[in-house]
Protein backbone atom coordinates (compact mmCIF):
# COMPACT_ATOMS: atom_id res chain seq x y z
CA UNK A 1 0.00 0.00 0.00
CA UNK A 2 2.76 2.36 0.92
CA UNK A 3 4.55 1.53 -2.28
CA UNK A 4 1.37 2.21 -4.23
CA UNK A 5 0.89 5.63 -2.65
CA UNK A 6 4.54 6.37 -3.21
CA UNK A 7 4.18 5.60 -6.89
CA UNK A 8 1.07 7.80 -7.00
CA UNK A 9 3.07 10.64 -5.51
CA UNK A 10 6.16 10.34 -7.64
CA UNK A 11 4.83 9.13 -10.99
CA UNK A 12 2.24 11.41 -12.51
CA UNK A 13 1.42 9.12 -15.44
CA UNK A 14 0.62 6.32 -13.00
CA UNK A 15 -1.52 8.64 -10.92
CA UNK A 16 -3.48 9.71 -13.99
CA UNK A 17 -3.82 6.12 -15.14
CA UNK A 18 -5.42 5.10 -11.84
CA UNK A 19 -7.58 8.18 -11.99
CA UNK A 20 -8.64 7.26 -15.52
CA UNK A 21 -9.59 3.72 -14.55
CA UNK A 22 -11.63 4.95 -11.60
CA UNK A 23 -13.37 7.50 -13.75
CA UNK A 24 -14.02 4.92 -16.44
CA UNK A 25 -15.64 2.57 -13.97
CA UNK A 26 -17.86 5.29 -12.55
CA UNK A 27 -18.96 6.56 -15.95
CA UNK A 28 -19.60 3.03 -17.33
CA UNK A 29 -21.72 2.28 -14.34
CA UNK A 30 -23.74 5.50 -14.42
CA UNK A 31 -23.94 6.07 -18.17
CA UNK A 32 -24.58 2.95 -20.30
CA UNK A 33 -23.58 4.52 -23.61
CA UNK A 34 -20.22 5.68 -22.27
CA UNK A 35 -18.30 2.46 -22.67
CA UNK A 36 -19.50 1.61 -26.17
CA UNK A 37 -16.73 1.23 -28.71
CA UNK A 38 -18.30 3.85 -30.92
CA UNK A 39 -18.35 6.43 -28.19
CA UNK A 40 -14.80 5.75 -27.09
CA UNK A 41 -13.41 5.94 -30.60
CA UNK A 42 -15.49 8.94 -31.50
CA UNK A 43 -14.51 10.98 -28.46
CA UNK A 44 -10.84 10.76 -29.34
CA UNK A 45 -11.18 13.37 -32.05
CA UNK A 46 -12.10 16.01 -29.53
CA UNK A 47 -8.79 15.56 -27.76
CA UNK A 48 -6.63 16.10 -30.83
CA UNK A 49 -6.55 19.87 -31.18
CA UNK A 50 -6.22 20.78 -27.52
CA UNK A 51 -3.81 17.86 -27.21
CA UNK A 52 -1.44 19.31 -29.80
CA UNK A 53 -1.49 22.63 -27.96
CA UNK A 54 -0.82 20.86 -24.65
CA UNK A 55 2.19 19.12 -26.23
CA UNK A 56 3.43 22.52 -27.35
CA UNK A 57 3.09 23.91 -23.83
CA UNK A 58 4.80 20.82 -22.42
CA UNK A 59 7.95 21.44 -24.47
CA UNK A 60 7.91 25.17 -23.76
CA UNK A 61 7.36 24.82 -20.01
CA UNK A 62 10.08 22.14 -19.72
CA UNK A 63 12.59 24.58 -21.24
CA UNK A 64 12.45 26.51 -17.96
CA UNK A 65 13.20 30.10 -17.05
CA UNK A 66 9.50 30.87 -16.68
CA UNK A 67 8.80 29.30 -20.08
CA UNK A 68 5.13 29.57 -21.01
CA UNK A 69 3.18 30.44 -24.15
CA UNK A 70 0.04 32.51 -23.69
CA UNK A 71 -0.17 33.13 -27.43
CA UNK A 72 -0.62 29.51 -28.47
CA UNK A 73 -4.39 29.84 -28.97
CA UNK A 74 -3.91 33.03 -30.94
CA UNK A 75 -1.38 31.34 -33.20
CA UNK A 76 -4.05 28.74 -33.86
CA UNK A 77 -6.55 31.47 -34.81
CA UNK A 78 -4.06 33.20 -37.08
CA UNK A 79 -2.96 29.99 -38.83
CA UNK A 80 -6.60 29.02 -39.34
CA UNK A 81 -7.35 32.39 -40.95
CA UNK A 82 -4.26 32.15 -43.16
CA UNK A 83 -5.47 28.81 -44.49
CA UNK A 84 -9.06 30.01 -44.76
CA UNK A 85 -8.32 33.27 -46.54
CA UNK A 86 -5.76 31.81 -48.92
CA UNK A 87 -7.87 28.81 -49.91
CA UNK A 88 -11.43 30.09 -49.44
CA UNK A 89 -11.19 33.71 -50.51
CA UNK A 90 -8.17 33.87 -52.78
CA UNK A 91 -8.73 30.44 -54.28
CA UNK A 92 -5.23 29.15 -53.68
CA UNK A 93 -4.55 25.44 -53.95
CA UNK A 94 -5.60 23.95 -50.60
CA UNK A 95 -2.40 21.97 -50.13
CA UNK A 96 -0.28 25.05 -50.64
CA UNK A 97 -2.55 27.10 -48.37
CA UNK A 98 -2.28 24.48 -45.64
CA UNK A 99 1.50 24.46 -45.89
CA UNK A 100 1.56 28.25 -45.66
CA UNK A 101 -0.73 28.03 -42.63
CA UNK A 102 1.73 25.71 -40.91
CA UNK A 103 4.60 28.01 -41.82
CA UNK A 104 2.68 30.97 -40.39
CA UNK A 105 2.35 29.07 -37.11
CA UNK A 106 6.06 28.31 -37.08
CA UNK A 107 6.90 31.95 -37.80
CA UNK A 108 4.72 33.18 -34.93
CA UNK A 109 6.57 30.76 -32.66
CA UNK A 110 9.88 32.02 -34.01
CA UNK A 111 8.96 35.59 -33.08
CA UNK A 112 8.21 34.45 -29.52
CA UNK A 113 11.41 32.44 -29.45
CA UNK A 114 13.47 35.35 -30.70
CA UNK A 115 12.37 37.66 -27.89
CA UNK A 116 12.63 35.01 -25.19
CA UNK A 117 15.87 33.40 -26.24
CA UNK A 118 17.96 36.09 -27.86
CA UNK A 119 16.66 39.21 -26.09
CA UNK A 120 16.21 37.30 -22.82
CA UNK A 121 12.77 38.78 -22.09
CA UNK A 122 10.35 37.08 -19.68
CA UNK A 123 8.21 34.57 -21.65
CA UNK A 124 5.03 35.66 -19.87
CA UNK A 125 5.36 39.23 -21.15
CA UNK A 126 6.49 38.26 -24.62
CA UNK A 127 3.65 35.85 -25.23
CA UNK A 128 1.06 38.09 -23.57
CA UNK A 129 2.01 40.80 -26.06
CA UNK A 130 2.15 38.52 -29.07
CA UNK A 131 -1.21 37.09 -28.04
CA UNK A 132 -2.69 40.53 -28.68
CA UNK A 133 -0.70 40.89 -31.87
CA UNK A 134 -1.64 37.51 -33.38
CA UNK A 135 -5.31 37.88 -32.38
CA UNK A 136 -5.37 41.26 -34.03
CA UNK A 137 -3.67 39.96 -37.18
CA UNK A 138 -6.15 37.10 -37.38
CA UNK A 139 -9.01 39.61 -37.25
CA UNK A 140 -7.35 41.87 -39.81
CA UNK A 141 -6.88 39.21 -42.43
CA UNK A 142 -10.41 37.96 -41.78
CA UNK A 143 -11.83 41.28 -42.98
CA UNK A 144 -14.02 40.82 -46.05
CA UNK A 145 -14.60 43.36 -48.77
CA UNK A 146 -17.24 45.15 -46.67
CA UNK A 147 -14.73 45.75 -43.90
CA UNK A 148 -15.97 43.20 -41.37
CA UNK A 149 -14.00 40.28 -40.00
CA UNK A 150 -15.91 37.22 -41.21
CA UNK A 151 -15.44 33.46 -41.00
CA UNK A 152 -14.46 31.57 -44.12
CA UNK A 153 -16.38 28.39 -44.85
CA UNK A 154 -16.03 27.65 -48.55
CA UNK A 155 -13.25 25.10 -48.36
CA UNK A 156 -12.91 22.59 -51.18
CA UNK A 157 -14.62 19.31 -50.39
CA UNK A 158 -11.39 17.34 -50.47
CA UNK A 159 -10.11 19.27 -47.46
CA UNK A 160 -12.52 17.70 -45.02
CA UNK A 161 -10.91 14.26 -44.86
CA UNK A 162 -8.39 15.58 -42.34
CA UNK A 163 -10.96 16.35 -39.67
CA UNK A 164 -14.05 14.36 -40.65
CA UNK A 165 -12.97 11.04 -42.15
CA UNK A 166 -12.89 7.87 -40.07
CA UNK A 167 -11.32 4.47 -40.62
CA UNK A 168 -12.98 1.63 -38.74
CA UNK A 169 -14.61 4.36 -36.68
CA UNK A 170 -11.23 5.83 -35.77
CA UNK A 171 -10.96 9.47 -36.79
CA UNK A 172 -8.34 10.18 -39.45
CA UNK A 173 -6.66 12.94 -37.45
CA UNK A 174 -6.18 10.62 -34.50
CA UNK A 175 -4.62 7.76 -36.36
CA UNK A 176 -2.74 9.67 -39.04
CA UNK A 177 -1.66 12.79 -37.23
CA UNK A 178 -2.03 12.74 -33.47
CA UNK A 179 -0.71 9.29 -32.60
CA UNK A 180 2.30 9.47 -34.93
CA UNK A 181 3.09 12.95 -33.66
CA UNK A 182 2.79 11.92 -30.02
CA UNK A 183 5.19 9.07 -30.77
CA UNK A 184 7.61 11.38 -32.54
CA UNK A 185 7.54 13.91 -29.71
CA UNK A 186 7.92 11.20 -27.10
CA UNK A 187 10.84 9.89 -29.09
CA UNK A 188 12.30 13.37 -29.47
CA UNK A 189 12.17 14.01 -25.73
CA UNK A 190 13.30 10.65 -24.46
CA UNK A 191 15.66 9.33 -27.10
CA UNK A 192 17.43 12.17 -28.86
CA UNK A 193 20.12 14.74 -28.15
CA UNK A 194 17.45 17.43 -28.49
CA UNK A 195 15.57 15.91 -25.55
CA UNK A 196 18.73 15.76 -23.47
CA UNK A 197 19.52 19.38 -24.22
CA UNK A 198 15.94 20.42 -23.46
CA UNK A 199 15.91 18.83 -20.00
CA UNK A 200 19.43 20.12 -19.33
CA UNK A 201 18.36 23.69 -20.18
CA UNK A 202 15.20 23.43 -18.09
CA UNK A 203 17.02 22.02 -15.06
CA UNK A 204 19.69 24.70 -14.93
CA UNK A 205 20.64 27.12 -17.63
CA UNK A 206 24.01 27.80 -16.00
CA UNK A 207 25.02 24.15 -15.70
CA UNK A 208 23.80 23.65 -19.27
CA UNK A 209 26.02 26.47 -20.51
CA UNK A 210 28.97 24.97 -18.64
CA UNK A 211 28.18 21.59 -20.25
CA UNK A 212 28.36 22.60 -23.90
CA UNK A 213 24.59 22.72 -24.36
CA UNK A 214 23.38 25.19 -27.03
CA UNK A 215 20.94 26.84 -24.62
CA UNK A 216 19.74 29.66 -26.89
CA UNK A 217 19.06 27.41 -29.86
CA UNK A 218 17.08 25.01 -27.68
CA UNK A 219 14.93 27.74 -26.17
CA UNK A 220 14.32 29.24 -29.58
CA UNK A 221 13.37 25.93 -31.12
CA UNK A 222 10.74 24.94 -28.53
CA UNK A 223 8.76 28.07 -29.35
CA UNK A 224 9.07 27.35 -33.08
CA UNK A 225 7.89 23.77 -32.58
CA UNK A 226 5.09 25.11 -30.39
CA UNK A 227 3.95 27.50 -33.11
CA UNK A 228 4.10 24.74 -35.70
CA UNK A 229 1.95 22.43 -33.54
CA UNK A 230 -0.58 25.24 -33.12
CA UNK A 231 -0.63 25.61 -36.90
CA UNK A 232 -1.29 21.90 -37.26
CA UNK A 233 -4.11 22.10 -34.72
CA UNK A 234 -5.56 24.96 -36.77
CA UNK A 235 -5.48 22.81 -39.90
CA UNK A 236 -7.33 19.96 -38.19
CA UNK A 237 -9.87 22.21 -36.51
CA UNK A 238 -10.78 24.15 -39.63
CA UNK A 239 -11.25 20.90 -41.47
CA UNK A 240 -13.33 19.33 -38.69
CA UNK A 241 -15.74 22.22 -38.33
CA UNK A 242 -15.44 23.20 -42.01
CA UNK A 243 -14.86 26.80 -41.10
CA UNK A 244 -12.05 29.21 -40.24
CA UNK A 245 -12.89 31.85 -37.66
CA UNK A 246 -10.56 34.47 -36.20
CA UNK A 247 -11.51 33.47 -32.64
CA UNK A 248 -11.01 29.71 -32.98
CA UNK A 249 -8.23 29.60 -30.43
CA UNK A 250 -9.78 31.90 -27.83
CA UNK A 251 -9.35 30.49 -24.34
CA UNK A 252 -7.40 27.47 -25.52
CA UNK A 253 -4.02 28.74 -24.31
CA UNK A 254 -4.89 28.49 -20.64
CA UNK A 255 -6.57 25.10 -21.13
CA UNK A 256 -3.46 23.80 -22.86
CA UNK A 257 -1.23 25.02 -20.04
CA UNK A 258 -3.56 23.45 -17.49
CA UNK A 259 -3.43 20.08 -19.22
CA UNK A 260 0.37 20.19 -19.50
CA UNK A 261 0.71 20.97 -15.80
CA UNK A 262 -1.86 18.32 -14.90
CA UNK A 263 0.26 15.87 -16.90
CA UNK A 264 3.15 16.45 -14.51
CA UNK A 265 5.04 19.18 -16.32
CA UNK A 266 6.75 21.25 -13.64
CA UNK A 267 5.84 24.92 -14.08
CA UNK A 268 9.41 25.74 -12.94
CA UNK A 269 10.86 23.79 -15.86
CA UNK A 270 13.11 20.79 -16.31
CA UNK A 271 10.49 18.16 -15.63
CA UNK A 272 7.68 16.66 -17.67
CA UNK A 273 6.91 14.05 -20.30
CA UNK A 274 4.84 13.49 -23.41
CA UNK A 275 3.38 10.36 -21.81
CA UNK A 276 2.19 12.36 -18.80
CA UNK A 277 0.64 15.06 -20.95
CA UNK A 278 -0.94 12.40 -23.16
CA UNK A 279 -2.48 10.77 -20.10
CA UNK A 280 -3.82 14.14 -19.03
CA UNK A 281 -5.34 14.67 -22.48
CA UNK A 282 -7.02 11.26 -22.34
CA UNK A 283 -8.34 11.91 -18.84
CA UNK A 284 -9.69 15.31 -19.77
CA UNK A 285 -11.24 14.13 -23.04
CA UNK A 286 -12.95 11.21 -21.35
CA UNK A 287 -14.10 13.46 -18.56
CA UNK A 288 -15.59 16.00 -20.98
CA UNK A 289 -17.33 13.19 -22.83
CA UNK A 290 -18.66 11.57 -19.67
CA UNK A 291 -19.97 14.84 -18.33
CA UNK A 292 -21.65 15.54 -21.63
CA UNK A 293 -23.33 12.12 -21.76
CA UNK A 294 -24.42 12.52 -18.17
CA UNK A 295 -26.27 15.60 -19.28
CA UNK A 296 -24.02 18.02 -17.42
CA UNK A 297 -23.62 21.24 -19.32
CA UNK A 298 -20.48 21.50 -21.43
CA UNK A 299 -19.84 24.69 -19.53
CA UNK A 300 -18.60 22.57 -16.65
CA UNK A 301 -15.80 21.07 -18.74
CA UNK A 302 -13.45 23.93 -18.06
CA UNK A 303 -14.61 24.18 -14.47
CA UNK A 304 -13.73 20.58 -13.69
CA UNK A 305 -10.39 21.20 -15.35
CA UNK A 306 -9.77 23.96 -12.81
CA UNK A 307 -10.80 21.80 -9.88
CA UNK A 308 -8.58 18.96 -11.04
CA UNK A 309 -5.62 21.29 -11.54
CA UNK A 310 -5.78 22.77 -8.06
CA UNK A 311 -6.76 19.41 -6.57
CA UNK A 312 -3.77 17.66 -8.10
CA UNK A 313 -1.45 20.42 -6.90
CA UNK A 314 -2.75 19.97 -3.36
CA UNK A 315 -2.65 16.18 -3.60
CA UNK A 316 0.91 16.48 -4.80
CA UNK A 317 1.93 18.54 -1.81
CA UNK A 318 0.24 16.24 0.66
CA UNK A 319 1.45 13.02 -0.94
CA UNK A 320 5.00 14.20 -1.40
CA UNK A 321 5.13 15.31 2.22
CA UNK A 322 3.90 11.97 3.48
CA UNK A 323 5.11 9.34 1.12
CA UNK A 324 7.91 10.61 -1.01
CA UNK A 325 10.86 8.49 -0.06
CA UNK A 326 13.37 10.45 -2.12
CA UNK A 327 15.38 12.49 0.31
Amino acid sequence: MKKFLNLMATNRSFFLFIFLIAMFLVFSFVIPEFSTIYNILNMTKYGVEIGLLAFAETLIIISGGGGIDLSIGSILSLSAMVIGVLAGRLGMNIVLASILGLIAGGLCGAVNGFFVSFLRMPPLIVTLSTMYVYDSLALLIAVDKWGNPMPVSNFPYGYFFIGQQTYFNIPFQVIAIFIPLALILHFLLSKTTFGRYLFATGNSEVVARFSNVPVKKIKFSVYVIGGFLAGLAALIMTSRIASARPDLGAGLNLQAITIAVLGGTNIMGGEGSILGTLMAIVVITALYNGLQLAGISSIWQVGTLGIILIGSAIANIILSRKYSSVE
Binding site: I68, F115, L119, R120, M121, P122, L124, I125, V126, L128, S129, T130, M131, Y132, V133, D135, S136, L137, L139, L140, V143, G147, P149, L254, Q255, I257, T258, V261, I267, M268, S297, I299, W300, Q301, V302, G303, T304, L305, G306, I307, L309, I310, A313, I314, I317
Partner: protein
Protein backbone atom coordinates in the same frame (compact mmCIF):
# COMPACT_ATOMS: atom_id res chain seq x y z
CA UNK B 1 19.49 64.48 -7.07
CA UNK B 2 16.16 62.74 -7.58
CA UNK B 3 15.82 64.43 -10.95
CA UNK B 4 17.80 61.78 -12.74
CA UNK B 5 15.50 59.12 -11.38
CA UNK B 6 12.40 61.04 -12.42
CA UNK B 7 13.75 61.41 -15.94
CA UNK B 8 14.54 57.72 -16.16
CA UNK B 9 11.25 56.64 -14.60
CA UNK B 10 8.64 54.77 -16.56
CA UNK B 11 5.93 57.11 -15.27
CA UNK B 12 7.51 60.02 -17.11
CA UNK B 13 8.00 58.06 -20.32
CA UNK B 14 4.40 56.92 -20.31
CA UNK B 15 3.18 60.43 -19.48
CA UNK B 16 5.16 61.93 -22.34
CA UNK B 17 3.88 59.33 -24.78
CA UNK B 18 0.34 60.12 -23.57
CA UNK B 19 0.78 63.86 -24.00
CA UNK B 20 2.10 63.23 -27.48
CA UNK B 21 -0.92 61.06 -28.27
CA UNK B 22 -3.36 63.60 -26.86
CA UNK B 23 -1.85 66.34 -29.03
CA UNK B 24 -1.83 64.09 -32.08
CA UNK B 25 -5.41 62.89 -31.63
CA UNK B 26 -6.65 66.41 -30.85
CA UNK B 27 -5.14 67.71 -34.07
CA UNK B 28 -6.43 64.78 -36.08
CA UNK B 29 -9.98 64.62 -34.80
CA UNK B 30 -12.30 67.37 -33.62
CA UNK B 31 -14.25 64.91 -31.54
CA UNK B 32 -11.26 63.88 -29.43
CA UNK B 33 -10.62 66.75 -27.06
CA UNK B 34 -14.20 67.25 -25.87
CA UNK B 35 -15.42 66.99 -22.31
CA UNK B 36 -17.66 64.14 -23.30
CA UNK B 37 -14.93 62.08 -24.92
CA UNK B 38 -12.46 62.69 -22.12
CA UNK B 39 -15.07 61.51 -19.65
CA UNK B 40 -15.62 58.42 -21.77
CA UNK B 41 -11.94 57.60 -21.69
CA UNK B 42 -11.78 58.07 -17.94
CA UNK B 43 -14.83 55.88 -17.43
CA UNK B 44 -13.24 53.21 -19.56
CA UNK B 45 -10.08 53.44 -17.48
CA UNK B 46 -11.72 53.20 -14.08
CA UNK B 47 -12.39 49.47 -13.81
CA UNK B 48 -8.96 48.50 -15.16
CA UNK B 49 -7.33 51.18 -13.03
CA UNK B 50 -8.94 49.97 -9.80
CA UNK B 51 -8.15 46.31 -10.51
CA UNK B 52 -4.59 47.18 -11.50
CA UNK B 53 -3.91 48.28 -7.91
CA UNK B 54 -4.24 44.69 -6.73
CA UNK B 55 -2.45 43.28 -9.76
CA UNK B 56 0.44 45.69 -9.25
CA UNK B 57 0.96 44.53 -5.69
CA UNK B 58 0.75 40.87 -6.73
CA UNK B 59 3.30 41.32 -9.50
CA UNK B 60 5.57 43.32 -7.18
CA UNK B 61 5.70 40.29 -4.86
CA UNK B 62 6.83 38.22 -7.87
CA UNK B 63 3.43 36.60 -8.49
CA UNK B 64 0.71 36.77 -11.12
CA UNK B 65 -3.08 36.55 -11.11
CA UNK B 66 -4.92 35.36 -14.21
CA UNK B 67 -8.19 34.91 -12.32
CA UNK B 68 -8.95 38.66 -12.14
CA UNK B 69 -11.45 38.62 -15.01
CA UNK B 70 -13.29 35.54 -13.81
CA UNK B 71 -13.58 36.94 -10.28
CA UNK B 72 -15.00 40.10 -11.81
CA UNK B 73 -17.45 37.93 -13.76
CA UNK B 74 -18.72 36.17 -10.63
CA UNK B 75 -19.00 39.44 -8.76
CA UNK B 76 -21.11 40.84 -11.60
CA UNK B 77 -23.42 37.82 -11.49
CA UNK B 78 -23.86 37.93 -7.71
CA UNK B 79 -24.48 41.64 -7.82
CA UNK B 80 -26.94 41.35 -10.70
CA UNK B 81 -28.86 38.43 -9.23
CA UNK B 82 -29.06 40.10 -5.83
CA UNK B 83 -30.34 43.34 -7.35
CA UNK B 84 -32.91 41.61 -9.52
CA UNK B 85 -33.88 39.44 -6.56
CA UNK B 86 -34.94 42.47 -4.59
CA UNK B 87 -31.95 43.25 -2.43
CA UNK B 88 -31.44 46.95 -1.85
CA UNK B 89 -28.76 48.32 -4.17
CA UNK B 90 -26.24 49.09 -1.45
CA UNK B 91 -26.51 45.58 -0.02
CA UNK B 92 -26.13 43.99 -3.45
CA UNK B 93 -23.02 46.02 -4.10
CA UNK B 94 -21.50 45.15 -0.74
CA UNK B 95 -22.36 41.52 -1.27
CA UNK B 96 -20.62 41.56 -4.66
CA UNK B 97 -17.49 43.16 -3.26
CA UNK B 98 -17.41 40.67 -0.38
CA UNK B 99 -17.59 37.80 -2.86
CA UNK B 100 -14.55 39.30 -4.57
CA UNK B 101 -12.75 39.44 -1.24
CA UNK B 102 -13.70 35.85 -0.46
CA UNK B 103 -12.45 34.55 -3.81
CA UNK B 104 -9.25 36.55 -3.47
CA UNK B 105 -8.79 34.95 -0.06
CA UNK B 106 -9.11 31.50 -1.62
CA UNK B 107 -6.28 32.37 -4.02
CA UNK B 108 -4.39 33.81 -1.08
CA UNK B 109 -4.72 30.64 0.99
CA UNK B 110 -3.37 28.43 -1.77
CA UNK B 111 -0.51 30.75 -2.65
CA UNK B 112 0.54 32.00 0.78
CA UNK B 113 -0.30 29.09 3.05
CA UNK B 114 0.14 26.05 0.82
CA UNK B 115 2.89 27.48 -1.36
CA UNK B 116 1.38 26.47 -4.71
CA UNK B 117 2.77 28.55 -7.62
CA UNK B 118 0.45 31.56 -8.28
CA UNK B 119 0.12 30.80 -11.98
CA UNK B 120 -1.32 27.35 -11.20
CA UNK B 121 -3.65 28.53 -8.45
CA UNK B 122 -5.10 31.38 -10.46
CA UNK B 123 -5.33 29.33 -13.67
CA UNK B 124 -7.36 26.71 -11.85
CA UNK B 125 -9.46 29.37 -10.18
CA UNK B 126 -10.12 31.05 -13.49
CA UNK B 127 -11.40 27.86 -15.14
CA UNK B 128 -13.61 27.01 -12.20
CA UNK B 129 -15.13 30.48 -11.86
CA UNK B 130 -15.83 30.76 -15.57
CA UNK B 131 -17.95 27.63 -15.35
CA UNK B 132 -19.74 28.92 -12.28
CA UNK B 133 -20.61 32.15 -14.08
CA UNK B 134 -22.14 30.23 -16.98
CA UNK B 135 -24.06 28.00 -14.60
CA UNK B 136 -25.50 30.85 -12.59
CA UNK B 137 -26.60 32.69 -15.68
CA UNK B 138 -27.74 29.61 -17.57
CA UNK B 139 -26.74 31.22 -20.80
CA UNK B 140 -29.01 34.22 -20.30
CA UNK B 141 -28.28 37.87 -19.65
CA UNK B 142 -29.31 39.97 -16.73
CA UNK B 143 -30.33 43.20 -18.39
CA UNK B 144 -33.28 44.47 -16.44
CA UNK B 145 -31.18 45.88 -13.62
CA UNK B 146 -32.80 48.43 -11.34
CA UNK B 147 -31.56 51.94 -11.93
CA UNK B 148 -30.33 52.22 -8.33
CA UNK B 149 -27.67 49.57 -8.78
CA UNK B 150 -26.17 51.46 -11.67
CA UNK B 151 -25.12 54.23 -9.31
CA UNK B 152 -21.61 52.74 -9.12
CA UNK B 153 -21.27 53.34 -12.85
CA UNK B 154 -23.46 56.26 -13.69
CA UNK B 155 -23.89 58.20 -10.47
CA UNK B 156 -22.24 61.59 -10.12
CA UNK B 157 -20.93 63.70 -7.31
CA UNK B 158 -20.13 67.32 -8.16
CA UNK B 159 -20.85 66.39 -11.76
CA UNK B 160 -17.98 63.91 -11.78
CA UNK B 161 -18.96 60.25 -12.28
CA UNK B 162 -18.62 57.92 -9.30
CA UNK B 163 -16.14 55.54 -11.05
CA UNK B 164 -13.75 58.43 -11.59
CA UNK B 165 -14.03 59.41 -7.95
CA UNK B 166 -13.43 55.83 -6.90
CA UNK B 167 -10.39 55.50 -9.12
CA UNK B 168 -8.87 58.74 -7.88
CA UNK B 169 -9.53 57.90 -4.23
CA UNK B 170 -8.30 54.31 -4.40
CA UNK B 171 -5.20 55.13 -6.43
CA UNK B 172 -4.37 57.99 -4.08
CA UNK B 173 -4.93 55.89 -0.99
CA UNK B 174 -2.89 52.93 -2.17
CA UNK B 175 -0.07 55.12 -3.45
CA UNK B 176 0.00 56.52 0.07
CA UNK B 177 -0.33 53.02 1.55
CA UNK B 178 2.60 51.65 -0.41
CA UNK B 179 4.77 54.51 0.73
CA UNK B 180 3.66 55.15 4.29
CA UNK B 181 2.51 51.81 5.70
CA UNK B 182 5.05 49.25 6.75
CA UNK B 183 2.92 46.57 5.11
CA UNK B 184 3.28 48.42 1.80
CA UNK B 185 7.02 48.44 2.25
CA UNK B 186 7.00 44.72 2.98
CA UNK B 187 5.19 44.07 -0.31
CA UNK B 188 8.24 45.44 -2.10
CA UNK B 189 10.63 43.68 0.27
CA UNK B 190 9.05 40.28 -0.44
CA UNK B 191 9.50 40.84 -4.17
CA UNK B 192 13.10 41.94 -3.73
CA UNK B 193 14.31 39.19 -1.45
CA UNK B 194 11.76 37.03 0.32
CA UNK B 195 14.33 35.13 2.37
CA UNK B 196 15.97 38.27 3.71
CA UNK B 197 12.54 39.69 4.50
CA UNK B 198 11.66 36.61 6.50
CA UNK B 199 14.93 36.80 8.41
CA UNK B 200 14.23 40.46 9.13
CA UNK B 201 11.28 39.21 11.17
CA UNK B 202 8.50 39.98 8.69
CA UNK B 203 5.66 37.45 8.42
CA UNK B 204 5.94 36.95 4.65
CA UNK B 205 2.96 34.60 4.49
CA UNK B 206 0.78 37.34 5.93
CA UNK B 207 2.09 39.80 3.35
CA UNK B 208 1.29 37.43 0.48
CA UNK B 209 -2.14 36.61 1.87
CA UNK B 210 -2.97 40.28 2.22
CA UNK B 211 -1.96 41.05 -1.35
CA UNK B 212 -4.07 38.33 -3.02
CA UNK B 213 -7.08 38.95 -0.77
CA UNK B 214 -6.96 42.70 -1.33
CA UNK B 215 -6.72 42.13 -5.07
CA UNK B 216 -9.93 40.07 -4.89
CA UNK B 217 -11.67 42.90 -3.07
CA UNK B 218 -10.58 45.42 -5.70
CA UNK B 219 -11.75 43.16 -8.54
CA UNK B 220 -15.07 43.24 -6.69
CA UNK B 221 -15.13 47.04 -6.81
CA UNK B 222 -14.17 46.94 -10.47
CA UNK B 223 -17.03 44.49 -11.06
CA UNK B 224 -19.53 46.84 -9.46
CA UNK B 225 -18.26 49.65 -11.69
CA UNK B 226 -18.53 47.55 -14.85
CA UNK B 227 -22.08 46.42 -14.06
CA UNK B 228 -23.10 49.97 -13.20
CA UNK B 229 -21.64 51.38 -16.37
CA UNK B 230 -22.88 48.77 -18.84
CA UNK B 231 -26.12 47.91 -17.07
CA UNK B 232 -25.87 44.33 -18.17
CA UNK B 233 -24.40 41.06 -16.89
CA UNK B 234 -23.40 38.54 -19.52
CA UNK B 235 -21.60 35.23 -19.48
CA UNK B 236 -18.58 36.91 -21.03
CA UNK B 237 -18.47 39.84 -18.60
CA UNK B 238 -14.85 40.11 -17.53
CA UNK B 239 -13.48 37.94 -20.34
CA UNK B 240 -9.88 38.89 -21.07
CA UNK B 241 -10.09 41.52 -18.33
CA UNK B 242 -7.09 39.98 -16.54
CA UNK B 243 -4.94 40.36 -19.62
CA UNK B 244 -5.81 44.03 -19.99
CA UNK B 245 -5.00 44.60 -16.33
CA UNK B 246 -1.67 42.74 -16.56
CA UNK B 247 -0.85 44.69 -19.73
CA UNK B 248 -1.61 48.03 -18.04
CA UNK B 249 0.46 47.07 -15.01
CA UNK B 250 3.49 45.99 -16.99
CA UNK B 251 3.23 48.97 -19.32
CA UNK B 252 3.20 51.17 -16.21
CA UNK B 253 6.66 49.96 -15.22
CA UNK B 254 6.00 47.12 -12.80
CA UNK B 255 8.68 44.50 -13.32
CA UNK B 256 7.27 41.05 -14.06
CA UNK B 257 10.26 39.69 -12.13
CA UNK B 258 9.00 41.44 -9.00
CA UNK B 259 10.39 43.99 -6.59
CA UNK B 260 9.50 47.20 -8.31
CA UNK B 261 6.57 49.16 -9.65
CA UNK B 262 3.99 51.71 -8.56
CA UNK B 263 0.23 51.84 -8.39
CA UNK B 264 0.28 55.22 -10.09
CA UNK B 265 2.38 53.84 -12.93
CA UNK B 266 -0.25 51.17 -13.52
CA UNK B 267 -2.95 53.84 -13.69
CA UNK B 268 -0.92 55.61 -16.34
CA UNK B 269 -0.57 52.30 -18.15
CA UNK B 270 -4.35 51.84 -18.08
CA UNK B 271 -4.84 55.41 -19.31
CA UNK B 272 -2.43 54.91 -22.16
CA UNK B 273 -4.26 51.81 -23.35
CA UNK B 274 -7.68 53.51 -23.07
CA UNK B 275 -6.41 56.62 -24.82
CA UNK B 276 -5.03 54.60 -27.68
CA UNK B 277 -8.14 52.56 -28.28
CA UNK B 278 -10.36 55.62 -28.07
CA UNK B 279 -8.19 57.71 -30.35
CA UNK B 280 -7.79 54.97 -32.92
CA UNK B 281 -11.56 54.60 -33.18
CA UNK B 282 -11.98 58.34 -33.71
CA UNK B 283 -9.32 58.23 -36.40
CA UNK B 284 -11.32 55.50 -38.10
CA UNK B 285 -8.46 53.09 -37.75
CA UNK B 286 -10.12 49.67 -37.70
CA UNK B 287 -10.75 48.58 -34.12
CA UNK B 288 -9.10 45.32 -35.05
CA UNK B 289 -5.64 46.87 -35.00
CA UNK B 290 -5.98 47.81 -31.34
CA UNK B 291 -4.53 44.54 -30.09
CA UNK B 292 -1.72 44.81 -32.60
CA UNK B 293 -0.75 48.24 -31.35
CA UNK B 294 -1.09 47.38 -27.65
CA UNK B 295 0.93 44.20 -28.11
CA UNK B 296 3.75 45.95 -29.91
CA UNK B 297 3.69 48.72 -27.32
CA UNK B 298 4.18 46.31 -24.39
CA UNK B 299 6.78 44.29 -26.25
CA UNK B 300 8.69 47.39 -27.27
CA UNK B 301 8.64 49.07 -23.87
CA UNK B 302 9.76 45.95 -22.02
CA UNK B 303 12.42 45.21 -24.64
CA UNK B 304 13.85 48.71 -24.17
CA UNK B 305 13.87 48.15 -20.40
CA UNK B 306 15.62 44.83 -20.71
CA UNK B 307 18.26 46.20 -23.04
CA UNK B 308 18.78 49.33 -20.94
CA UNK B 309 19.22 47.35 -17.74
CA UNK B 310 21.68 45.06 -19.40
CA UNK B 311 23.84 48.05 -20.22
CA UNK B 312 23.91 49.08 -16.57
CA UNK B 313 24.96 45.72 -15.26
Amino acid sequence: MGLKRVIKSRELTVSLVMIGLVIFFSLSSKRFFTANNIRNILLQVSSIGVASIGMTMIIITGGIDVSAGSILGIVAVVLGKAAVGGFPAWLAIILGILVGLALGSVNASFVALLGIPPIIVTLGMMSLLRSLTYTFLGGRWIASLPESIRWMGLGKILNIPIPIWLTIILIAYFSYFMKYKSLGRYVYAVGNNIEATRIAGVNTKRVLFFVYALAGLLYGVAGAIVVGRTGIVQTNTGNNFELQVIAATVLGGTSILGGKGTVFGSLLGSLLIALLSNGLILLNVPALTEGLIIGILILGSVAIDVIKNRGEE
